[in-house]
């Protein structure tokens, strides 16, 4: 009798366990099906951490907005967005490693590129091998896109698209400006921009009287500026990051250096530069891939540039810059492509990205055969009355170039 009861009891327990197992399996099955996973390798610690954290803000904002709207629709069903992050500690080989791990172990559906041209190029080899569509949110150098890859896309146009329109505007609006002095931070992106500027200045008939590089971590520019001042350039073009450019600008004021045109890349694109430089930021010109002062009506989840800026401010209580906006638009582009393909099949989504022709809050988006965006006209802007005013492209122009930086 006892034995029979035991058998019945264990049979019951067994079937209950099976039922629970089956339920949880179906539940996890449902979870896996209703979620689209995006892999984002980022430098969240180490020297690139400030940029990595900004990029994460952009992805998070997009994921939040996409999920708030119900998710991404595929075949009449809504899928939630989930972003899988990994910290590659500002170490490029680790970015490659972690990209492979995300694809093979975390089973992500799609990938975002690693930060910067170097790391993005290195990691793209892995996503290409596994045929995972990847959008790089911070890679501009054309060398990243010359590998003949089919699954790799980028939201930054080549560096010369920043310098050429700026040079043309100055040639047109300030015909007296002839002598250009260029000072570049000896670092991948700032140096590349300075070299592009040298090329476009020469091509447009300017006389480049000074071209020098300064070392990373330079604490004093007085000797450089004294030398530059003795050449009396009419256009001073300096590249670097916020700290360098704040110091250069301060020391220019200290040394009473004035010029009709002063351009700084990439400082004035960041609100903390404008706040910190105060009055000395007035009439500085700059260019970047995107600026919150632009206005585009887009077909993406954010709708318009001003709406994106509003949502960003509400979430982070600060002004977005091109890094954060590029991360958000990368997500929004995946969303558009997946909905267009109406499938999660990687090849179909890849084709939808390759054939994309749309407008977003970031600007018009079309990718060239190499995967790099070729539709975007990066804005040239000037700080006027402590605000950035767009000078180019004409479609979204807000004001004219003002001469005189004191």
């Amino acid at each position: 009798m006892f034995g029979w009861k035991w058998v019945r009891c264990s049979a019951f327990l067994g079937s209950a366990a099976l039922a629970i197992a089956a339920l949880s399996a179906s539940a996890s099955g449902a979870r896996a099906e209703d979620v689209i996973r995006f892999g984002a390798p980022l430098p969240l610690t180490g020297p690139l951490a400030p940029e990595g954290i900004k990029q994460k803000q952009g992805y998070d904002l997009w994921a939040e907005q996409a999920n708030k709207a119900g998710g991404i629709s595929v075949g009449g069903k809504k899928y939630k967005v989930e972003i899988v992050y990994s910290d590659y500690q500002s170490n490029t080989p680790r970015a490659v490693q972690t990209t492979e791990q995300m694809i093979t172990q975390d089973n992500v559906n799609f990938m975002f590129g690693a930060f910067g041209s170097g790391a993005a190029k290195a990691a793209s080899t892995i996503s290409e091998k596994y045929k995972v569509p990847t959008i790089a949110a911070a890679a501009s150098s054309s060398q990243v896109y010359d590998q003949g890859y089919k699954y790799f896309f980028g939201t930054f146009t080549p560096n010369d698209t920043l310098t050429t329109p700026l040079t043309k505007i100055i040639k047109d609006k300030a015909p007296d400006v002839k002598k250009v002095a260029i000072l570049a931070r000896n670092d991948l992106f700032p140096l590349a921009i300075a070299q592009e500027e040298e090329k476009s200045a020469k091509a447009n008939g300017f006389d480049v009287v000074y071209f020098e590089k300064y070392a990373i971590g330079t604490l004093d520019f007085s000797a450089v500026l004294s030398q530059m001042k003795s050449l009396s350039p009419q256009w001073i073009f300096v590249t670097g990051y916020v700290n360098d450019l704040l110091l250069v600008r301060k020391q220019m004021v200290d040394q009473q250096m004035k010029a009709p045109v002063v351009t700084m890349i990439a400082g004035p694109a960041y609100q903390d530069f404008i706040d910190s430089a105060g009055k000395s930021a007035e009439n500085l010109t700059s260019a970047s891939w995107w600026h919150p002062a632009e206005e585009y009506q887009g077909k993406d989840v954010f709708g318009s540039t001003s709406n994106f800026v509003k949502l960003f401010r509400a979430k982070y209580h600060s002004e977005p810059d091109y890094g954060q906006a590029s991360a958000s638009v990368s997500g929004a582009l995946f969303q558009l492509a997946i909905e267009k393909a109406n499938s999660l099949d990687r090849d179909k989504v890849r084709d939808a990205l390759a054939n994309m022709n749309t407008v977003t809050f970031w600007g018009p988006v079309r990718f060239g055969a190499n995967g790099q965006i070729n539709s975007l006209e990066p804005p040239v802007f000037q700080i006027q009355n402590a605000k950035a005013v767009v000078l180019f492209p004409d479609a979204i122009k807000q004001g004219d170039l003002k001469l005189g930086v004191e």
Binding site: E212, G217, A223, Q255, S276
Partner: protein
Amino acid sequence: MWVAQVLVNALVLGCLYACISIGFSLVWGVLNVINLIHGSFIVLGSYLAFGLYQSMSISPWYALIVAAPLFFVFGYLLQLLLLNRVINAPVLVTLTLTFGLDLILNNAMIYFFKADYRKLTLNPPMGSLSLFGVVVPVDRLIATVAALALTGLLYLLLRRLRVGRAIVAVRLDRDAAVLMGVNVKSIHAIAFGLGAALAGCAGVLMALIYPISPLTSSTFLGKAFVVCVLGGLGSVSGALAGGLLLALVEGVGTTFLGPEYATTLSFILLIIFLIVRPQGLLGRKGFE
């Protein structure tokens, strides 16, 4: 004319470098501790000046009065409670401890103040003085005078005051100082406190000149290191001499070879000094 400008720039910059380095030199000279928190102390001093000016419009000159005792107490306690425990251990142990403390302080600053660059801009700005076409920014001039004053004060303190003589005595011969009744632990704490106070004051002055961010601490530390080796460890006037030499080499290097090579040149100079004159320009055993 611009050659005169380059020389004046170098003179002013040299004093700024001395200002950054005096505290570091004192601690290294007296305690034989390579104080890796020094850079973060400077940045913390800058944040103090920035915070006081932004929130209560307190001028950085008054911030100096707040910073000196505050940093002295901070440094004194740090030495008394932590560093004194390992002060007799090999130099690598104290180096590791200050490295760890620097990581904590620096990351705490990143957490509380964020890594964004800030700038203390005085309203109205102090502007620049112009004499025969040579321009000198007033804020740098004041920082130069302050650096000279701090150097002078420290020199007098070490030479004239009882506590100063005790610091020198500990530096010269620790065992003999103990036999003479000097409380070595307390003297160590006072010396470290003084080093921290000097770093805090340097930070307040640097806030007027440089953008402020926890990320700049390693740059300040690097300069202090080079200046101390060039000028000579444990010598107050050595910090000044080292600062001036470094600034002059950087200025001349920038002018004739280009800014790209200025840092390279200063490190080549450092290597030459380490080989040819490891005691530095004015390095001696004591503080005379």
